[in-house]
Symmetry: C2
Subunit: 359 residues, 2 copies
């Protein structure tokens, strides 16, 4: 669909010259819907700079209204985790979520959200944009008539909230914990009873004791869910999610119907939101964590080194098993790990020494 | 200037309905010029994903040709460092460079490129986009009829190239070194004879012995200049430039003449390029450094801790003196340092432990 063709058609059909431009404009308007796995008002996932609703605003502004995307938070049009099927069927054109929610259908999709002990924000985007990651994502989704773009990233996440301190991996045993993705499989191997709950259901489950522990994002987002009122032990490091990609899922046939300029607008807006959303977390997490510790009695701690070392051993095993069980996963896994080794050799002499500079 | 007004005028003037859309389009086209402080073919600064020429392509694609920006590398229209005056006078609409090149006119501008022992990519963008940095940049440039947007970032840079090893700060004494920005003042305080040369002049100066040492960017960009053929000692850490912002400088009156949709396109393209250019460096530096070491006899080393500690002491002194000498610098300095303290308290429990995770 070429916008200039539309313009020509609009002009030919116009009775009076004055009406031509507005008719042409009306014919080139796309009214789309975007659903979201996260609930109304969620900071980063729904609201705020670089969020999915901000993405919709940017696209409307850049296209001067030629593409309008109506946003529906979880539950406003469909339930939280039904976006994949809704986009696939064409019921909606777009969905915002994380690809690891589709692990049941496509295990390899998990690598396009986050990998335990994997890549941070910079490494993940270097892999996706410039080292073959996007091509593998396209290859995985194309047979399903889907296309994905990264449109956000939380950066390093917090390990999560626990009712009791974690002193050894034995403390994970029989814990009921909300934790999605590959990290969930690592915890399961250590005896955790893993639950996959959407963000909006975490607080009531933790408060009522349906779960004993929960991972969500980081201080800024977690505080809004009120998790500090249901558990007090809050751990770092982000071994489980060193970064976390927000997925913009698009129906491929609808995408193909967009003229090239609107495709460029959508792609560029998603890339801008990727940076803007991430740096918004970076700007707000310090103050949020300070507030949680000072005003809500939260006990923030680093996971003991021995616990992290055991988590790494189990992660290697879980990832190897997943790759062995599914050729598509193996292909993505091997590419991811090759890039990780390369990127870490650079990070070891750039970002790592930066963090060790005198303050 | 409202695009719809233009469209209406175009339509009224059209003799035949068929011609109306193309006349309307012709009247809303902006043909702009962008100059650049870096020479033809420079990776990241001129060519490649997220570079200034890529920015121009993105803007043309998104606007469907309603704004076309003709790019001129250094020397193609004006010399390397004359972009500030060219944009100010309106001779060109845009310039790509680094704000620290304008230190002679506006000392505070240096803080919008990089600060020794300052903020990395994530912190710098968190400050600029979400913690008041852009507002301060606007305040500094507005009286000059200028507007700036960040449009790229190298990430952590390499300390640079030296003909002899650096074992103590005494080895800096009487060294003739190419080094711009605030780090140049730190080296000067340690007895370095500081030279400000554009990128394209570094290799001939280093090869002919006009300078003994040079800082440029990182492995990928430095290799293209051939610096490995003129000096063999290549140091990290990036104490001097923990990140480095590419500045898109815009003539404010020309900016004000753009309709809102084209302003949104320019802003979003700059933000997307900020991420894309940075992650391109991240994706390519490891292989470039390996190649330099294995095939060009480069000796890559970390600066000794005692040297870094002394550099920090001198940096604190130099920054304090600069702030005391200029109220505009003091205002920016104080805001930058307040945010740095806050951001580092978050980085200390997120990115820093990430880099210490078992590989």
């Amino acid at each position: 669909m070429d916008r200039r063709k539309f313009l020509a058609v609009g002009a030919t059909a116009a009775a009076a010259p004055l009406a031509a431009p507005s008719i042409a404009k009306a014919q080139t308007t796309f009214n789309w819907k975007m659903t979201n796995a996260y609930g109304p008002g969620s900071p980063f996932y729904v609201e705020g700079p670089g969020s999915p609703t901000d993405f919709c605003k940017k696209v409307t502004a850049m296209s001067d209204g030629r593409i309008n995307i109506q946003h529906f938070a979880a539950g406003e049009l469909i339930p939280a985790l039904e976006g994949f099927d809704a986009v696939r069927s064409g019921a909606v054109e777009m969905n915002a979520a994380n690809a690891y929610f589709w692990a049941g259908k496509l295990p390899a999709a998990q690598y396009f959200t986050t990998v335990p002990f994997g890549l941070n924000f910079q490494g993940m985007n270097a892999w996706l944009y410039h080292a073959g990651g996007m091509e593998l994502w396209d290859e995985l989704y194309a047979p399903l008539g889907l296309k994905a773009l990264p449109m956000g990233n939380t950066g390093v996440q917090m390990t999560g909230w626990f009712r009791k301190p974690i002193e050894s991996v034995a403390d994970f045993k029989d814990l009921k914990m909300r934790i999605p993705g590959l990290a969930g499989k690592v915890y399961a191997a250590l005896g955790v009873d893993v639950k996959l709950l959407p963000g909006g259901e975490i607080f009531p489950a933790l408060e009522r004791g349906v779960i004993d522990a929960a991972e969500f994002v980081g201080p800024y987002q977690d505080r809004r869910l009120g998790l500090q009122n249901a558990a007090k032990y809050y751990y770092t490091t982000g071994w489980h999610e060193p970064s976390n990609v927000t997925e913009l899922l698009i129906n491929q046939a609808k995408w193909d119907s967009l003229p090239a300029d609107l495709q460029a607008i959508v792609q560029t807006a998603a890339m801008a939101c990727n940076l803007e959303s991430h740096t918004w977390c970076e700007a707000n997490n310090a103050a949020a964590l300070k507030d949680l510790v000072e005003n809500s009695g939260v006990i923030a701690n680093v996971l003991p080194d021995e616990v992290v070392a055991e988590l790494k051993t189990v992660t290697d095993k879980v990832l190897a098993e997943g790759a062995a069980a599914d050729p598509a996963t193996k292909k993505v896994h091997d590419a991811f790990m090759a890039f990780k080794a390369e990127h870490q050799s650079w990070a070891a002499i750039s970002e790592k020494p930066y963090h060790n500079l005198p303050g």
